[in-house]
Symmetry: C2
Subunit: 263 residues, 2 copies
């Protein structure tokens, strides 16, 4: 696994009015141990504020969040856990896994810095998925009840909560289309192009990145077996569309990848 060049490209311009106070988890071992506002967070631009910030000028109560640090392999929450908060990924990444009663298991989401995780707990008071860290990760929690309370006083925040949920629905639907209609090669192409876009949106290189998932996890996400994923990656390399050495991927011919989706 090699390091990959990742320079921020275009920081977004966002002016949040919702003040968020960050408290740290008891187990938080940050050397600096800084308390402070969310707006001082380095991930701020591509985080919470982009999705949930309020633009209304009305004074809103502070939303107190707790920062947590998790290790690779840790579960942020498991299926059945009580739902109380959404989590914003400050740095790192995780997968969300859905299990059914017969032991069937599928990865239904891959989440990276700035993404909001835990939506599967809304409406039922308990989580339906398990969120498992793919690397060491820092998250900030957003107590959902408090968020609901704030949203009642703030139309824009309310709409942003709705947008957050709606986006999750749209994402799920796209994945349904992928699983229901696409061939294996197309699924993988969509996966790579999607990753590429998401890195771009976060200011990183869109053509060169390191996968955080194993072949098996990618397969689970795409409804394929790990051998199929491996074979297809090799094929894309042979055809000159990508370079792949272990988990580091370079997209060489994005146009050709897109053309795979047309057939």
């Amino acid at each position: 696994m090699r390091a990959v060049a990742m320079q921020p490209v275009q920081p977004m311009q966002i002016k949040p009015r919702l003040t968020i106070v960050v408290r740290e988890d008891a187990a938080f071992e940050d050397a600096t141990r800084k308390h402070g506002l969310c707006s001082t967070c380095q991930s701020h631009d591509r985080c919470l504020s982009a999705t949930l910030h309020s633009t209304s000028g009305s004074p809103v109560d502070d939303l107190v969040t707790v920062r947590r640090r998790l290790r690779k392999g840790d579960a942020m929450y498991r299926a059945g856990d009580r739902f109380s908060a959404l989590y914003v990924i400050r740095s790192g990444s995780c997968k969300t896994v859905l299990l059914d009663e017969h032991g069937q298991e599928q990865i239904v989401g891959y989440h990276m810095a700035g993404d909001i995780v835990g939506i599967d707990g809304i409406g039922t008071d308990h989580h339906e998925c398990e969120a498992k860290m793919l690397e060491d990760t820092e998250v900030c929690s957003l107590p959902f009840e408090e968020l609901e309370r704030l949203a009642r006083d703030d139309e824009v925040l309310q709409q942003n909560v709705h947008r957050l949920l709606a986006r999750e629905i749209a994402r799920a639907r796209r994945l349904m289309l992928l699983l229901g209609t696409m061939r294996a090669e197309q699924r993988l192409a969509v996966f790579l192009l999607d990753l590429s876009e998401r890195y771009l949106a976060r200011g990183y290189s869109s053509c060169e990145f390191v996968l955080r998932m194993t072949r098996e996890e990618i397969g689970s996400y795409l409804g394929l077996k790990l051998e199929t994923v491996s074979r297809l990656l090799s094929r894309l390399v042979d055809e000159g569309l990508i370079r792949a050495e272990g988990r580091s991927i370079k997209l060489l011919d994005r146009m050709a990848l897109r053309r795979l989706l047309e057939k």
Copy 2:
């Protein structure tokens, strides 16, 4: 296609406090042409009130809805249409279809009386799916902006809106698991059992019902081809698990259907 016995079984006990006034569409051709409250609607118990009703005692403004009647094959809305309202199905059923830019098309939802349709428009101001009637259908519209306004004054209504969206996410995720991990026979079994449960919840026979979708539509919903659906239905008949004559289905051995999911 034969008529099938459908007696209400257990009406739900719900006491809505949110008053909803129903206006009728200009094109509405109901012989009776009754104006009135939503609570007088025959579908009331298994409709809106079960999902969106408010239990808080605080006085809330009336939500004015328009009733529309649609014919089989009509589109309630198309992809790209401006989103302004959710729709409650009073009677009838529809499918929601997602299309991608390459002409790939998949049915992502099947909705029957009492279901709320149009959620795909939330957050983006335009619909991402097309909703097409599977039979002559009556719907009531719920202007979403007004619903948002009411939800800001009513904690329970707010939570119910969240629950509505969350349920849609959960539904999508279950379908992802189905499409990603199950074999064709299992998918069909899940489909039949799910239909069965939904009819039961609406007070109809849970073991005998009439499909509203063609084999092709079922296939699109389950990520299969129509021939596969047809073959599998025949197989289930041969094995004595169901009876199927055209679109009328009778579940003969529900236990065996469930066992199919275990392997």
